[in-house]
Point group: C2
Chain length 235, copies 2
């Protein structure tokens, strides 16, 4: 298996990967983590969309769907859910369809849509994800959602963890060697405190979402690996 | 001082930095290292150009200039010099003008041309570069040349070293935090051996340039910090 990492969706699109790879979309803060939490709590399916208008339009297809998402990290007026994983409790999401629009995660999912499989990864499901990927014969592309087209430290670190755990049976690209190295260095210190220096974690923390950040940095707490296929995310 | 790192010239161009920053172009294997070696050996000036045709055209302006460069790492037929730092000895380059075309370094230099100052950095002049940069009031953008628009491990590690050395007086971007972390992790092991796993170092080594790679990974052996200004590199 060959493991590549793309630090932004633009990097992924520019590289024209052949379609016969598996893609993992990583948006640690917070779309991936919230999607995994929702699926672990019995959500039926999540429909990712790019814009607020798309969200309203798609609700016509799913009359009882919940609308979810954020803009500049904050909940969208009139929507049922924001982007905090704590909102996606069993009481709220069990058996529900959720139509979700997020700034970066949706862009990354759409970019990866042609891959053989598109999985959703984060720290919270890293072990389950690695178990699923360890058996594959396909090459693997780990795609960081980033922040508005730019590198995000927390996404890169999460792909570094995944690359590290799979590296005994894989050839790593330069980006994968780099992400693994940065993850290993961060592990030497106070992981959460060091990530708080990064721009998006600092922004979320300052905006009142420090508990979300701490939750999203927990490792291996969910067994669920959501998959994106035909425009819909299921468990 | 704020330190940002761009892992490719495309990242740099996409971010639309304000012009009031200092840029450092890093192409460890091998353009930056060869340019620094040439300047340390008394080269008068280097004129970077994009294409072979540009090189021939510019020679009309500099009748006694040497032509230098590479394609797929190999010397260009009819040119005086390839891209190995060992070729740029005092006997060959002292007081000479060199017209140089390289695959990645030239692209990065052209991208950064609007910055207040554009310096050439590599492992071989890292200490001298950091001394020069430590006093500046400007923000700093470290620009990795990469490989054909893609991330190169050795360039990122070199920017990580520079960010690490300047970090006591600087605010680091996410990319700078990441590069510093990967550099610190690589330093824990056999640095040269680990870099040999990267794609460009492996390719050069397989192509007969292993000595060049080892040379380009030496740290702090030259006191020279070349600067690119008005289309010309001088010491």
């Amino acid at each position: 298996m060959h493991i590549s990492i793309c630090f932004t969706p633009q990097d992924y699109l520019r590289q024209n990967f052949r379609d016969d790879h598996i893609a993992v979309v990583v948006d640690v803060l917070r779309a991936s983590s919230s999607i995994i939490a929702a699926m672990a709590n019995g959500c039926r399916q999540i429909v990712p969309v790019a814009t607020l208008e798309d969200a309203q339009t798609r609700r016509r297809d799913y009359a009882d769907a919940l609308l979810a998402g954020e803009r500049q990290a904050f909940p969208i007026p009139g929507f049922n859910l924001g982007n905090s994983p704590f909102e996606y409790s069993r009481t709220v999401v069990a058996d529900k369809t959720i139509i979700m629009t997020t700034t970066n995660g949706t862009v990354a999912l759409k970019a990866a849509a042609e891959a053989v499989n598109v999985y959703i990864g984060a720290f919270v499901n890293a072990a389950a994800l690695c178990s699923k990927l360890a058996e594959t014969k396909h090459d693997l592309v780990l795609l960081c959602a980033g922040t508005q087209g730019r590198f995000s430290l927390e996404d890169a670190l999460c792909t570094g963890l995944i690359a590290d755990r799979l590296s005994s049976n894989a050839k790593l690209s330069d980006t994968a060697l780099a992400a693994r190295a940065m993850y290993n260095d961060f592990c030497c210190g106070d992981f959460v405190k060091r990530i708080m220096e990064s721009s998006h974690a600092a922004y979320l923390s300052k905006s009142g979402f420090a508990d979300d950040v701490a939750f999203c940095l927990k490792t291996d707490i969910f067994e669920i690996v959501p998959e994106f296929s035909d425009g819909v995310i299921t468990a």
